[in-house]
């Protein structure tokens, strides 16, 4: 076995996962908060006003990182769902299920901030264009995965059923991303591009990228924290979990 597979197997074992994420989570949350605050200060205070929308455009510093995060969370969930379905790795089941609520919140924030911005700028809260509709479908897919996971008694069967729903729903991700270029939508096209020049001034771009980095780190911290709890629940009867429970029991020295 080469080092990578060995590392993968080690990280995939519940006690190691519990220990490593326990060390990582505080640092991840701290880094996300710090980078996020710098990004927010840059976006809300330092970045200049837009030539057309003046200060109202600043909502993109929340809206865009959250929208990216919603899609990223879905891809992360689907990849873990795929591993869970084929290799039945427990950690992957748990990670997939842990990322659904986090992704759902990011998507909900995206829809809410979009509506708040849309009312004064476009003239409407909501319209059934391809981008908005597919983003709503994304939220419903997250909610469906959460619902299905909680509807089945057996945790591992529930995770497998929900993972299947999540995996099939991956077809929606390219639709969300490309909806603005495939169809005439009210929503504007892609501003920040990986290939080719972005259509945003660099003075506005750097806070946006910092906030995107912060939300990504926050996502992993939050998913790991959720996964740790589910893992302890699932492995409650096992030796390593019992040891942790005994060690943290009040009055036990």
């Amino acid at each position: 076995m080469n080092t990578l597979t060995l590392w993968f197997h080690k990280f995939g074992s519940p006690p190691t996962f519990h220990r490593v994420t326990g060390l990582l989570i505080p640092w991840l949350f701290a880094a996300a908060l710090l980078i996020g605050l710098v990004g927010l200060y840059g976006g809300l205070v330092l970045a200049p006003a837009d030539y057309q929308q003046s200060d109202a455009y600043r909502i993109i510093f929340i809206h865009v990182p959250c929208a990216w995060m919603g899609l990223f969370a879905y891809i992360f969930m689907a990849v873990n769902a795929f591993i869970a379905l084929v290799w039945r790795i427990k950690i992957s089941e748990i990670l997939a299920m842990a990322s659904a609520p986090v992704g759902a919140w990011f998507t909900a924030i995206t829809l809410a901030t979009g509506a708040i911005w849309g009312k004064p700028m476009w003239g409407t809260w909501w319209t059934w264009d391809a981008r908005l509709t597919s983003e709503l479908v994304l939220l419903f897919l997250f909610l469906g995965v959460i619902g299905l996971y909680n509807a089945i008694e057996d945790r591992r069967q529930a995770a497998r059923a929900a993972a299947f729903l999540g995996l099939v729903g991956i077809v929606n991700v390219p639709i969300v991303h490309f909806s603005v270029s495939w169809w005439n939508t009210l929503h504007q096209g892609t501003t920040v591009r990986l290939l080719g020049p972005s259509r945003i001034d660099s003075s506005m771009l750097w806070p946006l990228l910092l906030l995107a980095l912060a939300t990504h780190i926050w996502f992993f911290a939050s998913v790991f924290a959720r996964a740790r709890v589910s893992l302890l629940e699932l492995e409650g009867g096992k030796e390593w979990a019992r040891e942790i429970a005994l060690a943290t029991e009040p009055g036990h020295e």
């Binding site: 006003a49 837009d50 700028m121 991956i170 009210l186 945003i200 001034d201 003075s203």
Partner: protein, 153 residues
Amino acid sequence: MTPTRKRRLIVVGLILLAVGVATVLTVAALQQNMTYLFTPSEIIAGKAPAEARFRIGGMVKEHSIERGQSLTVAFVVTDGDDDMRVEYEGILPDLFREKQSVIATGSMQGGRFIATEVLAKHDETYVPRDVAEAMENAHRKHDVPLSADKPSP
């Protein structure tokens, strides 16, 4: 890889493939219905429904905005090739102005488009105000059309 895992991999892969193909076919079939808006040239070419309500999209033509009694307003929407006169009564969004992309919902009535809702489409460009002014001044100095650096709607 054990035979069970291999079998699962194939099954999951096939299901994903099937769902993917189904989605592509559905999206392709919906392409016609998914059209959010028609441009003035498409309307003149007869692609838009004659009776039903639909959306028209394009840029507000320069010097074409006529304000009438109270909230009535008329303007010309252009896509560069053809123009269409739009009439509307109501509150316009903040971003509504000349050379702004707009989307109006309504129906045709004898060569005019009677709108019941007018939405402003924002483009994907974000520029600080002073940079925009500097660019505008430079363009004016060198006689470049002002919308040259902007994407068409």
